[in-house]
């Protein structure tokens, strides 16, 4: 510990602290622009110059290490003169366009110029002009003359995003921030650069010129987009969501959010919103009042139950539904005598359902990722499925964590990987078994039953070693592992590694409320998400699900829906294909318009309130289901608030859910026999198609992550099946077929075709990881 005195305030700071750290500790504010606690130190803005006793020159607080007994003066004449001098330099070429600048009102330069800037400029030369740049649909770089060259955006790309998309080109005052020869900024975390920019140089393209910052009300919320449950500030004007920003929570999202979370709000104010209950009568859709719609639903469901029994009824909910919605939906289903409810539309293998010891979760807290010595991620499009977890692993890998990836494509995760194996989806279990065997061999213990025949290679040995060494290690199962036909085997194999090495086994989590759904009674006691469509039912309730995009096998689901006599479709959005098979459409409020609770993948319970009034006649899902329960004359639907429901489900005041466990009982390892004939499909869920909101955000739909799916095949496989790069191919799965452009992509394993799911052009296809045929069109 070192002793330091700042402006007369004494403090003890750890070795290696900077003056800036110490100042923050004692609560002294030192003005700064380039310094950011999450980024490396650049010391280039010079705004934080302070006087240090015995130093002849003012020193930058952000970069000056504390020495024992140091005395610092942040407001002495020398310090203030230096700060004012820097401020003047920053302002001489900065345009005086605050009245038309989007950053006006929330601009660090503007704020600081009040404190340190001169009333009148001494600069009479002409101001420097920097040309605008186009870097894609999310970030606006229209007024680059405003840039003060703090390089926060550059460092963000290099250090947090993992890819340097912006750089500072040229020398002297001709320095400017730009992309490499006109490229766009495509990182899934790029929007954070807008937050980091202390001036109005990088602004949000969708938000630009729509509101002034002082007109906005800041309301807290929680992201419904992925399993991290990023904390959000939703900014609101006149009951419209104007923009979404990260709310700092070091335990969850630090100070970042992904672009999907930032820009999806565009869908909320769009014409795509479903704002009126609608009923199909005689083939015609009619807008009706809520009581009519609910009566219709109640009668319909009751009729089906009466005629065919409760088992003829099934409900499927999205994983972004709240705890309250899922709980009440489950209660309604139970009341109607049906156990056919599920929330895992993309899952294939449900054989672990009766064998889990508890609720599957990350196995640790998110904040503990940085302490891992070794981590193996199994089956994941990590960057796109879990941008913030990928970010945490990226930071960890920079320090000491050996991060390995065993997955189905060789996409660049922008992580300094220790080892990676890329195998066909059907081979995942075999590859993981090889790691299990290698671990056993390293440990010198008997090879667990079932993996004796696994083939250990150098890479699996390397991965195994990284899971044996060190204090804290983990095996994470990603979305591909969850959605795989061998999900339970992969789970059991991961547990086997855990048993042998003491490594934690965890699930990255598919959706915002996967854990919440597990504990809210949304797990099937009857037919699961696969069975309920495999054996078609008479009536379906869909909550927040768009079956064409969200299901493992859209073909199967659509066939079942088309034959059903009643399909109740609950959604915040209009969904054209549903007009064909649905009978009732009920507008439920999205996360900004309802109160509710999400449980993220580390088990953290996060409750949020609605931030705006529900649009049109849309109503919070929990209220709708409560009323439905009442209309159905079911008991136990007397809730008056969502908190009441939450407390009943999760317990009052709980911060984390209990009963978390990834253990399995009674699952024997038996590696699937691979029948290698024909091609296998690899379906990722592209980040900006992953949920109904993102699908309807115009800006996200223009990004590089939202290009239409292609059939991506390795050059070798292409040659084998006689297909040319960029040629048109007919892709078939079962009865469905579509014509796509073939693209050579050596990140795809041999014998596989990567065709993304969740897109209209591929919605007619079958299983995400099923067999597929490709021929020249």
């Amino acid at each position: 510990m070192l002793e330091i005195e700042i402006d007369g305030k004494k403090a003890q700071v750890p070795d290696g602290s900077t003056v800036m750290d110490a100042a923050q500790q004692v609560g002294v504010y030192i003005p700064h622009f380039c310094y950011h606690k999450k980024l490396s130190i650049a010391a280039n803005c010079r705004m934080c110059l302070v006087q240090v006793e015995k130093a002849p020159k003012p020193l930058p607080a952000c970069a000056t290490p504390v020495t024992n007994g140091m005395k610092v003066f942040t407001h002495s004449e020398l310090a203030v003169k230096a700060q004012k001098g820097v401020m003047e330099f920053l302002l001489i070429n900065h345009p005086l366009d605050c009245p038309i600048c989007d950053q006006g009102g929330e601009c660090q330069l503007q704020d600081m110029s009040v404190g340190y800037g001169p009333m009148k400029s001494r600069y009479t030369e002409e101001k420097h002009v920097v040309f605008h740049k186009s870097v894609g649909p999310l970030i606006s770089m229209e007024e680059m003359s405003r840039c003060i060259h703090c390089t926060r955006c550059v460092r963000f790309g290099q250090e947090i995003g993992g890819i340097m998309e912006l750089g500072m080109a040229n020398r002297n005052m001709h320095s400017e921030i730009m992309t490499f020869v006109g490229r766009t900024v495509d990182s899934e975390l790029s929007g954070n650069m807008i937050d980091l920019c202390p001036v109005g140089a990088l602004t949000s393209k969708p938000f630009r010129y729509t509101a002034r910052s002082w007109e906005l009300q800041r309301r807290k919320s929680v992201s419904p987009h992925d399993s991290v449950g990023a904390n959000l500030v939703v900014q609101v004007k006149h009951d419209n969501v104007m923009r979404v920003l990260p709310r700092e929570n070091e335990e969850v999202n630090e100070c970042w959010i992904s672009d999907k979370e930032r820009f999806s709000y565009q869908a909320l104010n769009s014409d795509e919103r479903l704002t009126k209950p609608m009923v199909k009568q005689g083939g015609e859709w009619k807008e009706v009042d809520w009581n009519v719609a609910l009566d219709y639903v109640a009668h319909g469901l009751k009729d089906v139950c009466r005629e065919h029994g409760g088992d003829a009824l099934a409900a499927l909910a999205a994983q972004s539904s709240t705890v309250e919605e899922l709980f009440l939906l489950g209660k309604v289903m139970k009341g109607l005598g049906s156990g056919n409810i599920d929330f895992r539309p993309r899952q294939n293998d449900f054989s672990s359902d009766s064998k889990r010891a508890g609720t599957p979760w990350l196995g640790m807290r998110l904040a503990e990722i940085k302490d891992l010595d070794g981590a193996l991620v199994v089956g994941s499009f990590l960057r796109k499925d879990h941008p913030l977890i990928a970010q945490r692993l990226r930071q960890a890998a920079k320090k000491f964590t050996k991060v390995s990836l065993l997955s189905v494509t060789g996409d660049d995760q922008l992580i300094n990987l220790h080892a990676r194996m890329t195998v066909a989806p059907a081979q995942l279990a075999a590859a993981l078994a090889a790691v299990v065997k290698a671990v056993a061999e390293i440990k010198g213990v008997a090879v667990p039953a079932g993996v004796e025949n696994a083939t250990v290679c150098e890479t699996s040995k390397k991965i195994a070693q990284s899971l044996v060494d060190g204090e804290k290690r983990a095996v994470f199962l990603g979305n591909v592992a969850t959605q795989s036909a061998d999900a339970t085997q992969l789970h059991a194999l991961a547990l086997e590694i855990g048993k042998l090495t003491g490594a934690i086994v965890g699930f990255l989590g598919e959706g915002a409320n996967t854990l919440g759904a597990h504990v809210s009674g949304a797990l099937p006691s009857g037919a699961n998400a696969h069975q309920m469509f495999e054996q078609p039912r008479k009536a379906y309730v869909l909550m927040g699900v768009e079956p064409e995009f969200d299901c493992a096998n859209p073909q199967l689901v659509l066939d079942a829906l088309n034959q059903a006599s009643l399909v109740v479709y609950m959604s915040a959005f209009k969904h054209a294909p549903a007009l064909a098979y649905a009978d009732v459409m009920l507008p439920i409020a999205p996360y900004t318009e309802t109160s509710g609770t999400f449980v993220n993948t580390e088990g953290r319970i996060q409750t949020f309130n609605g931030v705006v009034k529900a649009r049109g006649d849309a109503r919070p899902g929990w209220k709708l289901l409560r009323v439905l329960g009442n209309v159905l004359n079911l008991d136990g639907f007397a809730y008056t608030s969502s908190e009441e429901i939450r407390d009943e489900v999760l317990g009052k005041g709980a911060e984390f859910v209990g009963g978390l466990s990834n253990e399995l009982s009674g699952v024997a390892i038996s590696l699937p026999t691979i029948t290698a004939n024909g091609l296998q499909r690899i379906a990722d869920v592209p980040i900006n198609f992953a949920d109904p909101m993102a699908r309807r955000a115009p800006s996200l739909q223009q990004t590089a992550d939202a290009v239409a799916p292609t059939a991506r095949i390795s050059e070798q496989t292409m040659a084998q099946i006689g297909i040319a790069d960029n040629g048109q191919v007919r892709v078939k799965q079962g009865a469905g077929e579509t014509v796509l452009v073939a693209k050579a992509d050596n990140n795809v394993p041999a014998g596989c075709v990567r065709v993304s799911a969740a897109h209209a052009s591929t919605a007619m296809l079958g299983d995400m990881f099923g067999s597929i045929s490709v021929e020249r069109a």
Binding site: C45, A63, F89, I92, N93, H149, R171, N172, S175
Partner: protein, 442 residues
């Protein structure tokens, strides 16, 4: 010919053959004998460094930091790679001595670097050559090939078990890459921008490893120091200013060029060696150490001797030893205009005071020179340069500020005249006559 003149020349003495740069000639002049002696006799690292300390060799690149002391900062026992780097990024206006060393005596640099590497336990070296001197870069590469073939660098040098790999690396002409940490960044393949210090290169240098960076002339002096002994080298100059130094004299003298003279030689003697003032005109001012050194008026410099302490006492700095001589035909405003343009242009743009301030200063000086000056401009300039100096990441901010400060201090009258009369105090025809290039329009 390497030198136009010398007194007690050391570094560049005896370089009269056509092939003076070749290994054969260098060995014939006694080259690589010191490296061999050190390796054969297994001289300790401490002894080598103490010999250099004894010589009071001060860094020839501009800062004048004692070389022996710098070497002793290197953590010799640090495991793994350590680097010595030679700074031949000679970009300071007025300086052209390293170019001649590279051209005529490159093996002295190589031997010096090898000895330095031995003394500091380094196993790798780079010579960063300025991007605008291509021929010298090629020649150094050839010299490296010769030295490598002869076993003076590489693995197991002269059978001693000492390994030292040396490479040449050329820049692309950015002045800032002469700043040692920007130079390291450039070698690493990054944009040449200075690093914030601390950490200093001795602990975190090239690729994060301990690194010592010295000037070309500094390295080239090493073999000679070891040959004659530190004390004798020191005695060539004067106390605290050991040895001889190369001076690049440019401007209004009859024979501009490189001169090797002992430190402590009177400026008048140097001026005499250069054949005196061109056209017999009167000396007006001298920039004694490259363009970043403050300018000295004639009467001050004529009383100075050419060494670090004397010049420093006279209000300037010896810097790299680039002596820019200006006679009475020079318009000091115009001269400063050109200098401040250089610093504005060469600022790397990283930190605010330098990026914005150098441009501002240039614009104001340029305005004055072009008859658009305002009475408050001189105060403005002094205030702006005060806000740059000492506030920047590297010394370029200071280097840009000193000329402006000193020009205004010593030749303020000319600036005031310029502002008031919107033209030079020195009549244009006199300036043209003095330039030697312009024809006076009929």
């Amino acid at each position: 010919m390497a030198m136009l003149g010398s007194i007690n020349g050391v570094l560049m003495e005896g370089l009269d053959g056509d092939n003076s740069w070749s290994l054969k000639d260098y060995v014939a002049r006694g080259g690589y004998a010191q490296l061999k002696r050190i390796l054969d006799s297994k001289m300790t690292q401490e002894d080598v460094i103490s010999e250099v300390k004894k010589s009071v060799l001060r860094g020839r690149g501009g800062a004048g930091f004692p070389t022996g002391l710098k070497w002793s900062f290197m953590p010799r026992s640090f495991p793994g790679d350590k680097y010595v780097v030679c700074n031949t990024d000679e970009g300071e206006p007025g300086t052209f001595k390293d170019r001649d060393i590279m051209r005529y005596n490159p093996h002295a640099v190589i031997e010096g670097m090898a000895i330095a590497a031995y003394a500091m336990g380094a196993n790798r070296g780079y010579n960063y050559v300025h991007g605008e001197v291509w021929l010298e870069y090629k020649r150094f590469e050839e010299a490296l090939d010769q030295a490598r073939a002869a076993g003076f660098i590489g693995q197991n040098i002269l059978g001693s078990g000492f390994n030292f790999e040396l490479f040449a690396h050329h820049g692309y002409g950015a002045y800032i890459c002469g700043e040692e940490t920007a130079l390291l960044e450039s070698i690493e393949g990054k944009k040449g921008q200075p690093r914030f210090k601390p950490p200093f290169p001795a602990s975190f240098g090239l690729y994060g490893k301990p690194t010592t960076i010295n000037n070309t002339e500094t390295f080239a002096s090493i073999p000679f120091i070891l040959k004659m002994g530190g004390e004798e080298f020191l005695n060539l100059g004067k106390p605290n200013n050991g040895g001889t130094k190369l001076f690049s004299v440019s401007g209004h003298v009859n024979r501009p060029g490189n001169y090797e003279i002992p430190l402590g030689t009177p400026f008048a003697t140097l001026l005499e060696m250069c054949g005196g003032m061109r056209g017999g005109r009167k000396l007006k001012a001298v920039i004694p150490g490259g363009s970043s050194a403050p300018v000295m008026p004639a009467d001050v410099i004529m009383d100075c001797t050419m060494d670090y302490d004397s010049i420093s006492k006279g209000g300037s700095m010896l810097g790299s030893g680039a002596v820019i001589v200006m006679d009475e035909t020079v318009c000091m405003v115009k001269a400063l205009d050109r200098l401040s343009f250089f610093y504005h242009e060469e600022s790397c743009g990283q930190c605010t005071p330098c990026r914005e301030g150098t441009a501002w200063m240039y614009k104001v000086v340029h305005r004055i020179e072009n008859g658009l000056g305002k009475p408050e401009d001189l105060d403005l300039l002094n205030s702006v340069l005060g806000n740059i100096a000492g506030r920047t990441i590297c010394a370029l901010g200071d280097a840009a500020a000193f000329p402006v400060q000193s020009f205004i201090k010593h030749f303020g009258k000319e600036f005031e005249y310029h502002i008031e009369h919107k033209t030079c105090l020195v009549p244009k025809d006199v300036q043209w006559a003095g330039s030697g290039f312009h024809k006076i329009p009929a």
